[in-house]
């Protein structure tokens, strides 16, 4: 390790930092680094393949002799499996494989539970065979909602472990019992001028990647298998299938050249609520033929994972001047059948005095929660930012001023200023909540988010330089549409003095060096520094002391190589101290609410986002814009609903489950707030998740400003807006 100095921070707020850097690491690109390609707007390197339809996704793979597999799924929720008879399906035309994956007596935890895996020679015959399977279920009561599942005498989702409440003892930052923290917070609240208690609720959200989960598995002559997978984790698919087939990992080759969206639900070997990929692999090996299994849209809703619901009971005590003395949150949420994972990131970010928190997961007869773009955060930010707004309103303090007061991040303070200027905060907030002219009322709201520096020293990037000057950059991880390939190309081009188009970036093949699963926004900040390291090695070896000037200089130096090609590895040994420990972002939303119909339209969003150093401005902005749109969709439309009596899915399509379309989306201003954060040699962070956090909170607060009515439950539907307006009107009449 060596101590190195670097200039860290952001425009107008830089400082020299001394950081411990492992030996062999290149110079840190500090705030004052003079870079040629990094930070420019570079079109993504696989853009043409995607725009012309040439890009091949797992769903597009067609192999000679390929068979089609699908899981037979439980048609009900609750109860136990009494009988499973596949005999009629087995002898149906074209059927090649029919195998139960559960035994009678199994508890039907959720609609869509895996029962049997079938393979046939065409999709039509597969469908016909599935209809011939006889499933007999001893019916049992099912619970679909948090209220029903938490009620006294509710049927247990896991009858062998009674009750549906899990994790009651988990408190925020405290080991074990959260009760002492709650007691201390309550005590602190005794001195408060104002104590507010509010309940906020959020819905279940389904990831809805356009390409569903799926694999094509081809058994090879030598006993190995090749797997095309729509995944965020090529290596987790490899390990899962190797385990199922009892093969060593290097006998399973997983390929993911392009994939059609994941957002957290494609990190495992199959899907969060199904083992379909492992069954497809077993069937392929047994049948000695390629098997394709892509989930149907309805299956995707049932077993593809979701963002859990939340019910956040917040209590806060403040002084008149806006100082928080205490803030507590009791969180309950429905993870579906898994026994945990339904938390919410509330409290966070702000100085709220004494805090306490408990998180309880309430099991329901439903498909599983799983990681979803900033797990816990969008729902937590909706609760927290609504609560802070309500406190500001009650004290007569401008909501942005209150946030500025309790904010702990220097980056966020500057972001608040920047965003307020762009949205016209002061001007807009001159109008008191609900007092603008109607019936189309306008309002602005603000909310914040945070995320973590998640780059890790756990990837190796291989760069091969050919005598003709060609450069291949390789890693086995995947580009899930975020622009990882492009980021890697930009970094290598910067170091070698080349243009982005000169490089070939190879991703998505587990026969190449190991890389991370794309979760936690870690892919680019893990691979970026590894590319840099390998490229610096290559530059030193090929160019020596000559400057990395341009393509000609590079080609001339390569031509002098003795070998046909040379290979260089980059594997950062550690990541180091960051300028600030967390990523900051804030968003300002302007909405228009029709107070006669309750319809909310988002007019404008300004998203000010710390992204460390933006490596490619174009794809970085796209990430922010896309996250905001998902946030709008979450705030206004999406709602996974189950029938309350049977816990069966009420919609398995893209009509009943509505996501934002082109006409729902305003122009979005993505303000890339670059921070040289010194956490790695590029000073870069991940960007997939952070901008997904604040949007719903900002919209909810803007709706309040427009109408004077607080909607405390997502999605903010016209019915909820009208109900809140009626409530606000009644409260006014009541003389409150």
């Amino acid at each position: 390790m060596a101590k190195r100095k670097t200039l860290a921070g952001f425009k107008g707020n830089t400082r020299e930092m001394e950081v411990e850097v492992p030996d062999g690491e290149p110079e840190i690109w500090g705030a004052d680094a003079d870079l040629r390609v990094v930070g420019a707007a570079v079109p993504r390197v696989d853009g043409v393949a995607k725009a012309t339809g040439r890009a091949v996704y797992t769903a597009d793979v067609r192999l000679p002799g390929m068979l089609h597999g699908r899981m037979l799924r439980a048609p009900a929720a609750g109860g136990t499996l009494k009988a499973l008879d596949l005999s009629a399906a087995e002898i149906a035309p074209g059927v090649r494989y029919a195998k139960a994956v559960v035994r009678p007596g199994v508890n039907i935890t959720h609609e869509g539970r895996d029962l049997a895996f079938l393979v046939a020679d065409t999709e039509e015959r597969l469908e016909a065979a599935l209809a011939l399977c006889r499933v007999e279920i001893e019916p049992g009561r099912a619970v679909a909602t948090l209220e029903d599942a938490a009620a006294e005498g509710a049927p247990s989702v896991h009858p062998d472990r009674p009750g549906n409440l899990r994790g009651a003892a988990r408190g925020s930052g405290e080991k074990g019992d959260p009760a002492p923290a709650f007691e201390a917070a309550e005590k602190a609240m005794e001195k408060a001028d104002l104590v507010l208690e509010r309940v906020y609720r959020t819905q279940v959200q389904v990831h809805t990647p356009l390409e569903t989960h799926g694999v094509v598995v081809r058994p090879e002559e030598d006993g190995s298998v090749t797997v095309w997978a729509s995944t965020q984790g090529t290596f987790s698919v490899r390990d899962g299938i190797a385990g199922a087939l009892k093969l060593s990992g290097n006998r399973v080759r997983v390929l993911t050249e392009h994939m059609g969206g994941g957002f957290g639900c494609k990190l495992g070997p199959s899907a969060p609520g199904s083992g379909f990929a492992l069954e497809a692999a077993r069937a392929a090996v047994e049948l000695k033929a390629p098997v394709r299994c892509m989930l149907e849209r309805r299956e995707e809703h049932l077993v593809g994972g979701n963002r859990p619901s939340s019910e956040q009971t917040v209590r806060m005590g403040l002084k008149k001047d806006g100082t928080f003395l205490a803030y507590t949150a009791r969180i309950r949420g429905t993870p579906g059948f898994p026994e945990g994972g339904a938390g919410a990131a509330n409290p966070m970010i702000y100085d709220l005095g004494r805090t306490a928190k408990e998180e309880i997961s309430v099991c329901t007869h439903a498909g599983p929660q799983t990681a979803f773009r900033a797990p816990g955060h969008p729902q937590g930010a909706f609760g927290l930012e609504s609560a802070v707004d309500e406190a500001a309103e009650a004290l007569g303090i401008d909501p942005l001023d209150l946030r500025t007061r309790i904010n702990r991040s220097g980056i966020r303070a500057a972001q608040f200023e920047e965003g307020a200027k762009r949205i016209g905060w002061r001007e807009a907030r001159r109008v008191k909540p609900g007092e603008g002219p109607g019936p189309l009322k306008r309002g602005v709201g603000v909310a914040s988010g945070t995320w973590y520096h998640t780059g890790r020293a756990r990837a190796t990037v291989e760069i091969t330089v050919h005598r003709d000057g060609g450069v291949d950059v390789r890693n086995g991880a995947q580009d899930i549409g975020t622009g990882t390939r492009t980021v890697m190309a930009v970094v290598a081009a910067e170091v070698l003095g080349l243009e982005v188009g000169d490089l070939r970036i190879h991703l998505g093949d587990t026969t190449w060096p190991a890389g991370p699963g794309s979760g936690g926004s870690c892919t680019a900040p893990t691979l970026g520094p590894a590319v840099r390291m390998a490229a610096e090695e290559a530059r030193a070896a090929i160019l020596g002391d000559r400057p990395a000037k341009d393509r000609r200089a590079w080609a001339a130096a390569c031509a002098r190589m003795e070998e046909e090609s040379r290979t260089f590895l980059g594997k950062p040994a550690a990541y180091f101290d960051a300028y600030e420990g967390a990523i900051a972002g804030c968003q300002f939303a302007e909405v228009e609410v029709d107070v006669e119909t309750g319809v909310v339209r988002v007019i404008r969003v300004v998203a000010v986002q710390d992204c460390g150093r933006a490596i490619d401005r174009l794809t970085a902005e796209s990430q922010v814009i896309g996250a905001v749109i998902q946030g709008i969709s979450y705030a206004l439309f999406e709602d996974r609903r189950l029938d309350r009596g049977t816990a069966r899915l009420l919609h398995g399509d893209l009509e009943g489950y509505r996501i934002a379309g082109p006409r729902d989306v305003p122009d979005i201003e993505a303000v890339m707030f670059s921070v040289a954060n010194a956490g790695n040699t590029l000073g870069m962070s991940g960007l997939g998740e952070p901008p997904a956090v604040p949007t719903a909170g900002a919209i909810a607060n803007a709706v309040f400003h427009a109408t004077g009515a607080r909607v405390r439950e997502l999605p903010i539907t016209p019915a909820r807006v009208l109900a809140a307006l009626a409530e606000a009107k009644a409260a006014k009449k009541g003389g409150r």
């Binding site: 725009a51 012309t52 890009a55 769903a59 067609r62 356009l210 849209r297 749109i629 379309g661 082109p662």
Partner: protein, 204 residues
């Protein structure tokens, strides 16, 4: 029972519709009123040979009448640009141009597309393989992320520009209202479409 319209009679009428084009309505009426079987043979349920004209070339296919145009394109024709996402006409990922007009190919029977000019995203590029100005604009503006909705988006935009070479942002959003994107690329698609329109007007 024998005098009422059976499923078989209806299929005969429907076949006449498929074959008859402009004579569609009289053919259906005939099926309802006449007991004597029309001369048109019954199609299906087994594979039926017919021809699809895709991206300027005729392709002989042999498909069950229930096969959708999307099945035909992605299966035997190997054109996997159009994607299957919802399979129910809700998302536009499978959009193709039928005689120049965008259509969800998952909602069209392959048999019904016989005799029509079908253009997929693969057929938009020039004969030299040079990407269509729309495709170039999508890349330039970064109007795509995972790319799974992109072929449908590009195709819908191409349909729009054929009937409206200079659309406003609002008109682009309207034209795309049947297309869904989960990554959230809409604003940049609107930009790309208008940027392509400008480029095409400039004689490109």
């Amino acid at each position: 029972m024998s005098k009422s319209l059976g499923r078989r009679d209806f299929l005969k009428g429907a076949a006449a519709v498929a074959a008859g084009g402009a004579a569609a309505i009289p053919a259906v009426a005939a099926a309802w009123t006449q007991e004597a079987a029309p001369a048109t043979p019954v199609l299906g349920p087994g594979p039926v040979p017919f021809t699809l004209r895709v991206n300027g070339k005729d392709h002989a296919v042999n498909l069950e009448p229930r096969a959708t145009l999307l099945d035909a394109l992605r299966g035997p024709l190997g054109l996997t640009g159009p994607k299957e996402v919802c399979d129910r006409g809700a998302c536009g990922a499978c959009a193709v141009l039928l005689d120049g007009v965008p259509a969800s190919s998952c909602m069209v029977l392959a048999l019904d597309a016989e005799g029509r000019e079908i253009t997929t995203v693969e057929g938009l590029a020039g004969p030299d393989g040079k990407p269509h100005p729309l495709q170039e604009a999508f890349v330039r503006e970064d109007a795509l992320q995972c790319g799974f909705c992109t072929p449908g988006m590009v195709t819908s935009c191409a349909g729009l520009l054929r009937r409206n070479p200079d659309p406003t942002a609002e008109e682009v959003r309207d034209a795309l209202s049947g297309n869904l994107c989960r990554c959230g690329t809409y604003p940049r698609i609107v930009k790309a479409c208008r940027s392509a329109a400008a480029a095409m007007k400039g004689g490109r």
